[in-house]
């Protein structure tokens, strides 16, 4: 089943120089393992291809049901150098939530996920 990330997670993002961070938080604790499984560094780097110029680093926070991603080269130099509307990466979080992931039908049903 196709599931929209925005239906199973919320998120907030911020900046450190030219790096944006996106913290993704499972809306229900039992959905966190899906995030851990599906949101690999590679998958997120693919998602942001053409949007960021650098690599993606992931950290796990099982205590918060959250993943933290560092997106390098995301902000056109960052801070005051950047010409971008979102120079401080404030809404990168919502760009990640556009992702659509595949969840096996049986698992999706047992976890009560909505189809995209």
């Amino acid at each position: 089943m196709k599931v929209r990330l925005v239906d199973i997670a919320h998120a907030r993002s911020g900046d450190k120089g030219d790096t944006a961070n996106v913290g993704v938080i499972a809306l229900k604790r039992e959905w966190y393992p899906i995030l851990v499984r599906e949101l690999s560094e590679r998958r997120v780097a693919d998602h942001f291809r053409g949007v960021i110029t650098g690599s993606v680093k992931r950290y796990e926070l099982p205590n918060l049901g959250a993943l933290n991603f560092l997106l390098h080269g995301a902000l056109d130099g960052g801070g005051t150098l950047s010409l971008k509307t979102d120079a401080q990466g404030k809404v990168f979080s919502t760009a990640l939530l556009r992702m659509v992931i595949d969840v096996p039908d049986a698992e999706a049903r047992s976890l009560g996920l909505a189809s995209a």
Binding site: R12, N21, I25, Y59, L61, N63, L64, G79, D86
Partner: protein, 454 residues
């Protein structure tokens, strides 16, 4: 020893809600008011102000905040801790003293001033003695931009603030203290936490991180259930209710709007997060993967279980330097074919800049309403958009070239694609870019000092 100490956040950045400090001290009992004014580039703005007038260089909003809470300070003993001092904490403290005197509180408010973070006067000496102050992101030594440096300040920790409190200061003014130190210092002071009690110090850091952006943990800028966050017009700013054992609850005053829940606090915890295992501060390295959250009542979240470890032997240094010029301008194109018209205007503009022989380090076009924030992830736009904003920016070393660019936008209204409006703001403003250069310095090179005036 008190069993609970209440630290209220009243300002998440310079420019935050002017009402918040007064609402925090009048809305219910609090012991400390914490005001965070400094962002990465704020110090350089303040340095420019100080160059024009040696008495300036601090966050002037702070005086308004102090004026609004002066009765609470004098009558109820609420203490205020703020990094409003910027690059001139001494003048800031003097201004607070004069303000208190002018409002009939002469001599009633002891003011502590923390100095020692300003490295600008010592920069050449530090470089000469082998401190490269290399850019933490690029590895370049500071000598590459030395002649363009505007300000250089070490991020300092909670120790000098604790000293100021122990010497009776009721208002503590610092320069580039870390945001989190402003919250941790009163907890260290009240509970007598040892300087190597890493878990408790880490708890103080986490408390500081949760409230340092003001309402961003209490329903503001909150994505989860945003439609249902009650009464944002009357939003309550957060309060840390801390205990001697290092646990604490986040709350807000009764009758205020907003929301404090496990999800709203979690959103703030991940904000601007790097490696969660090592949140490095001058006092302690906190492990954010140990934080436990629990809802313990309406708009009340308990935070516990936090672990930390010894800090490094370095301090981070915030350096600001001149890095050329930029300008950004916008025009709005209307239906029909709004995006196509904006794209055509972009092509015309680029060709004209090119024919003028203007060279820039960067030219950037965004189509606001189509792809400005999500880029290609936004997908194909609706073919029937009512309007699209063309947002066009340039950046370069030559001020003249950037200035010339600003004259090329308005002519498009008459000599470019049709159905264009939204140019009433006039020519784009040329801005000098003051860029951020993060570096590290040995802790032994930075000596802070505390003075208490009345």
């Amino acid at each position: 020893m008190k069993q609970v100490v209440r630290v209220a956040a009243g300002q998440g950045f310079w420019g935050d809600w002017l009402e918040a400090p007064r609402r925090q001290v009048e809305g219910g009992p609090v012991d400390y008011l914490m005001l965070d004014y400094l962002a990465e580039v704020t110090m350089s703005i303040l340095q420019k102000q100080k160059e024009r007038d040696p008495k300036m260089g601090y966050a002037r909003d702070f005086l308004g905040a102090i004026e609004s809470v002066l009765p609470a300070i004098v009558e109820r003993g609420v203490r205020v801790i703020a990094n409003a001092g910027g690059v001139n904490p001494v003048s800031c403290a003097q201004a607070v003293k004069e303000l208190a005197a002018a409002r009939g509180a002469a001599g009633k408010v002891k003011i502590g001033v923390v100095t020692g973070d300003d490295l600008l006067p010592r920069l050449d000496d530090l470089i000469a003695r082998g401190h490269a102050l290399a850019n933490m992101d690029t590895g370049e030594p500071l000598t590459a931009v030395r002649d363009r440096v505007l300000s250089a300040n070490a991020y300092i920790g909670s120790t000098p603030i604790v000293e100021a409190l122990s010497r009776g200061a009721q208002v503590v003014v610092t320069g580039r203290s870390t945001d989190t130190a402003l919250t941790m210092a009163p907890l260290r002071f009240e509970f007598g936490w040892a300087p190597d009690d890493w878990n408790k110090l880490a708890a103080g850091i986490v408390a500081g991180h949760i409230i340092e952006c003001g309402a961003q943990c209490s329903g503001g800028n909150c994505l989860i259930g945003w439609r249902d966050v009650p009464d944002l017009a009357n939003v309550g700013y957060p309060i840390v209710n801390a205990h001697p054992d290092g646990t604490f609850e986040i709350s807000k005053h009764p009758g205020t709007g907003g929301r404090i829940s496990v999800p709203t606090v979690t959103e703030q915890l991940v904000y601007e997060m790097g490696d969660p295992h090592a949140y490095i501060t001058p006092d302690v390295v906190a492990d954010f993967t140990t934080i436990q959250l629990e809802s313990v009542g309406p708009d009340r979240v308990r935070v516990f279980g936090i672990a930390g470890g010894a800090p490094t032997d370095k301090l981070k240094v915030s350096i600001a330097y001149r890095a050329g010029f930029k300008a950004v301008g916008t025009l709005v194109y209307a239906w029909p074919d709004a995006l196509e018209k904006a794209q055509a205007a972009d092509r015309v503009l680029r060709e004209r800049l090119d024919r003028l022989g203007l060279r820039f380090d960067k030219i950037m076009t965004e189509f606001v309403g189509v792809s400005a924030t999500h880029g290609p992830l936004a997908g194909r736009p609706n073919a029937d958009l009512p309007e699209v904003q063309l947002r066009f920016g340039v950046r370069g070393e030559s001020k003249a070239a950037v200035e010339r660019f600003t004259r090329e936008l308005a002519p498009l209204v008459l000599n470019g694609p049709p159905s264009v409006t939204g140019f009433a703001g006039g020519r784009p403003k040329v801005e000098e870019i003051v860029a951020y250069w993060p570096a590290l310095i040995d802790k032994t090179e930075v000596q802070t000092a505390v003075e208490v005036i009345a």
